[in-house]
Amino acid sequence: MRETAVGKMTKPSVVSKKKWNQKILTPYLFLSPFFIVFAIFMVYPIFESLYLSFTSAQGNQAEWVGLENFKNILTDGLFWKSLSNVFIILIVQVPLMLIIGTLLAVLLNSKFIKGKAIFRLFIFLPVLIDLVTYSIVFTLIFNEQYGMMNYLLGLIHIDPIHWFSDPFWSKVLIIIAVTWRWTGYNTIILLAGITTIDDSLYESADVDGANKFTQFFKITIPMLKPILLFCGILSTIGTIQLFTEPSLLTAGGPNNATNTPIMYLYQFGFQSFQFGYASAAAYIITIIVGIISFFQIKVSKGGEI
């Protein structure tokens, strides 16, 4: 589809030279305001911290140490543990959230649901939670001794669950909390995508006699693919960079069962001020996220990233 536009723009014989120059320049001009800000406030600091990652920068002292930080991180069991934690959380949490999010978005776009405005608002709310309330409410609900969740489970004869002191259940707790907070956010993104799907597609499918189920898989999902991929990549990045939930709810425990790479980085960067080491950790995390995102894009070929 794009070829038509390109074809048009690269035919200087059709348009005057001045106009042609403008056509070539246009995308760059369109990108320039963003890229000026981007270069100053993002690219430059990134290069400076890249330099730091090869130094022993600690406090206000720094010395070139080459790859030592990278070596130390990659041989630290705690780093690998935190990485495996987020992978376990990722594999369960991201698909779970995207499935719930897509279902909610479709329902919120459905003609047969009344009171959509209020449902939309309710479902979007969690992302607005402030960290104080978030931490208090979740700690109260999931308290092992007297929390509401264990009380409710008791009513259906399930033994109290050790949400905070069992390595397995603490991960489950983190998955629940992250899903709670971010599903609405993804639902809104997906909903914005769904609303741009042309209604006539569904109308003709109705005429062809396709049921809603078929329409969902034959129209909604394919049309949503770029947005789903967007949400998938975003959530993957978000989960690998998970920080808020484990630091608020479990403090990375018990016994590092919910520790994450960013908590690891934060501990070195902002608790012990080893900026060089923390920067190196950041680049390792970036490379890992990059590889995973690359495969996500490859696997979902046709998503056109």
Binding site: M1, R2, T4, A5, Q22, I24, T26, P27, F30, L31, F34, F38, I40, F41, M42, E48, S49, L52, L103, L104, L107, K111, F112, A117, F119, L121, F122, F124, L125, V127, L128, D130, T133, Y134, V137, W180, T183, I188, I189, L191, A192, I194, T195, T196, I197, D198, D199, P226, I227, L229, F230, L234, I237, L265, G269, F275, A278, I285, T286, S293
Partner: protein, 276 residues
């Protein structure tokens, strides 16, 4: 056209209702808590009905912390940021989605990669730079760095990819300039994603914590969430009722914005413009 069966409809409603209750409960708790005195907030079983302490809590909070100026700062910073980032991201996203040009792929990959980098590590270089500019305590110290919003560009590009190129071609044949195509056709067509990005950007900036904490040193120039978070910390008396009242105030602007913008989530805007 026949609607879904009663059973399917009920299942849909049930799902929405459960999701809504789970979503709303902590907010309801927060709201009720903001109307209670501190010794009642943590009663078990929790109090379910609001009481009359809200105004007391708010006045108490306003006495101990400059919440109104913080609210003003938050509004100023988040609003300017949102408007600016919408425009920057829309036009950059459009360039990425609908033009072919040299260096496009590499530029886009660079944007993507910065999203994957934990931004905590850029804080110190950024701090040096901003101090060098003499911008500490100034709103632009928070607004400008946030405009390097890779997420927004990526988001707009993904959404604009589904705009049919024929529409743009038709306008070109009619002699419209590239910029006016963007302003008159692309922006109106992209209202739903723009509305979504507007809300997401606003809340992202509203809740932005670490950077404003570092760079807005003076209490009069700080933002509301940063101010509130400082009122709950280990080793001191926490006035929970006041803090919760503050958080209630803090979500009101975002709720209003959501209610204003959510009409753009209505199906068919885009379809209409194609048919029209």
């Amino acid at each position: 056209m026949k609607g879904p069966s009663f059973l399917k409809k009920s299942a849909g409603y049930l799902f929405l209702i459960i999701a809504s209750i789970a979503s709303v409960y902590p907010f309801y708790w927060m709201f009720v808590g903001s109307t209670l005195s501190d010794s009642d907030i943590f009663q078990s079983p929790p109090k379910l009905l609001p009481s009359g302490e809200f105004m007391n809590n708010i006045t108490g909070l306003a006495d101990s912390a400059p919440i109104w100026s913080a609210l003003g700062n938050s509004l100023l910073i988040s609003t300017i940021f949102t408007i600016a980032t919408l425009y920057l991201c829309a036009i950059a996203g459009y360039a990425f989605a609908k033009y072919e040009f040299k260096g496009k792929n590499i530029m886009f990959v660079i944007v993507l990669v910065t999203m994957m980098l934990p931004h905590q590590v850029t804080l110190i270089p950024l701090f040096k730079m901003i101090i060098g500019f003499g911008w500490q305590d100034q709103p632009q110290a928070v607004i400008l760095p946030a405009l390097a919003n890779a997420f927004g560009v990526f988001f707009m590009r993904q959404n604009m990819m589904s705009i049919p190129t024929e529409m743009i071609e038709a306008a070109r044949i009619d002699g419209a300039s590239e910029l006016s195509i963007f302003h008159k056709i692309i922006l109106p067509t992209s209202l739903p994603p723009l509305a979504a990005l507007g809300i997401l950007s606003f809340i992202q900036q509203w809740g932005n914590y670490l950077w404003p904490l570092i760079i807005l040193q003076n209490r009069e120039s700080t933002t509301l969430p940063v101010l509130l978070s400082q009122l709950v910390a280990p080793g001191q008396v926490v006035y929970y009722g006041q803090v919760l009242a503050g958080t209630v105030i803090s979500i009101v602007p975002v709720l209003i914005l959501f209610l204003l913008l959510q009409k753009y989530f209505i199906s068919g805007i885009y379809g209409g413009s194609v048919k029209g």
